[in-house]
Symmetry: C2
Subunit: 202 residues, 2 copies
C-alpha cells in the first residue's frame, strides 16, 4: 500500500471562499484517504506579488462577489454574514495556527475553523490579538500562551516563511489547494479536486 | 403557463472559459426550458472599466490559468489547444454574430460556436476578418455579405452598444450569465446556474 500525499490547503482568514473551503476540505480529504495540511497565508503579500486587489475592491466585481459569497454559502448550507469590517489582516490567527499546529494539528484545524466562523458568522474581528486569543481559548487553548506565541519572533517568521513558500509554489489566492503537485484555485474547484482524487487525474 | 425569461450568455471569443461555456450553455437552457441569448462583448473594454487584465498576463495566475484551461476542457471532454496567438481582439466575429442574430439566432449560435472551435481547437485566428468570414461561410453564410457586414458602421455601433449595455448590467468577465436578473460569472458557476434554475433560486 502506497502512502498518499496530503492535500495542502492554503487560505487567508479574511477570505470568504477560504471559509467555504474550510468547512468542506476535511470531508473531501476523508473521502479520498488524504490528510489535509492547513496553511494560512497572508493574501496581502500574495496580492502585491500578483498585482491583485481584494475582489470586493474591484469595480463591478466587488458587488458581484459580495452577492456571490452569500449565495455560495446558502448553496452549501454554510452560515454566513458579511462582516462589518472587511477585509482584515490575519497575522494574529495565522501565527497562532502554526504555533498550535506544532503541538496538535487537529487542534490547529479546530481553532482555524472556529476563527473563520467567529469572523464570517459572528462578525468578531479576529485580526485583533485579544479576539483571536478568545477564539483559541474557546477551543481549550491557554489564552496567555496564545497571546505570547503570536507576538513571538519565531512565529512571525514562520508565517512569513510559509507565505513565501506558498508563493514559490505558485499559490496566488485563497483558497488554494495542491495535491500530488496539482494546483486548484478557488472553492469552485473543490468538485474538480474531488474528481481528480477519485479518478487519479485525467 | 408563465413564460420563462432567457439566459443571457455574455462571452468574448478570446476567452477559454467562454468557449467551455459555449459548448454547454444550450444543454443547460434546454434542460430548464430557457432560451439562451448569446451576447458577444469586448473583454478589453470591460477590463478597462474594471482595471483588470487578461488572466494569462497576471503573474502566477497566468501559468495556473493555462494549465486550468486545458484541464477544465479535458474534464468536460471538450477538445482544446491553447492558440499560438492569445489573446485576440474579437470585433470581427462579434460584429458578425449580431448581424447574423438579426437574421437567424440559431445560425448566429452555430457561427459563434464554430468561431470558438476554429480558434481554440484549430488555432485559426478569428480576429482576422477574412478568417471570421471563412468560418461564417462554412456555416452557409454568404462570405462577401459577412465581410461587408462586419465593416458596416451600424454593426460596429451595435457591438459597442451591446458591450456598454453589458457593463451597465454589471457584466465584468467571460463567460457571464444572467437569468431572471441573477448574475453568474465563470464556467465554474454553470453547475450553480443549473441548480438555481432547478430550484428556482435559494
Amino acid at each position: 500500500m502506497t502512502t498518499k500525499g496530503p492535500i495542502e490547503f492554503y487560505f487567508d482568514y479574511s477570505s470568504p471562499y477560504g471559509y467555504v473551503a474550510a468547512t468542506r476540505i476535511e470531508d473531501i480529504g476523508a473521502a479520498h484517504g488524504r490528510e489535509v495540511v492547513w496553511k494560512p497565508i497572508l493574501l496581502g503579500v500574495v496580492f502585491r506579488a500578483t498585482q491583485s486587489a481584494p475582489l470586493t475592491e474591484v469595480p463591478l466585481k466587488g458587488d458581484y462577489s459580495k452577492h456571490d459569497f452569500a449565495r455560495t454559502c446558502r448553496y452549501y448550507n454554510v452560515p454566513f454574514k458579511f462582516p462589518a469590517k472587511f477585509p482584515i489582516a490575519s497575522q494574529a490567527p495565522a501565527r497562532g495556527h502554526y504555533w498550535l499546529w506544532e503541538q496538535d494539528p487537529a487542534l490547529a484545524k479546530r481553532f482555524s475553523l472556529a476563527a473563520f466562523t467567529a469572523y464570517f458568522v459572528d462578525g468578531r474581528d479576529v485580526s485583533a490579538p485579544e479576539i483571536a486569543a478568545d477564539v483559541a481559548a474557546e477551543q481549550g487553548v491557554d489564552r496567555d500562551a496564545f497571546l505570547a506565541a503570536i507576538a513571538a519572533p519565531e512565529n512571525k517568521e514562520r508565517l512569513k516563511a510559509e507565505t513565501e513558500a506558498a508563493l514559490a509554489k505558485g499559490v496566488f489566492g485563497s483558497p488554494f489547494m495542491i495535491v500530488d503537485g496539482e494546483p486548484f484555485w478557488g472553492s469552485d474547484r473543490l468538485p474538480m479536486l474531488s474528481a481528480w482524487l477519485e479518478r487519479g487525474g485525467w
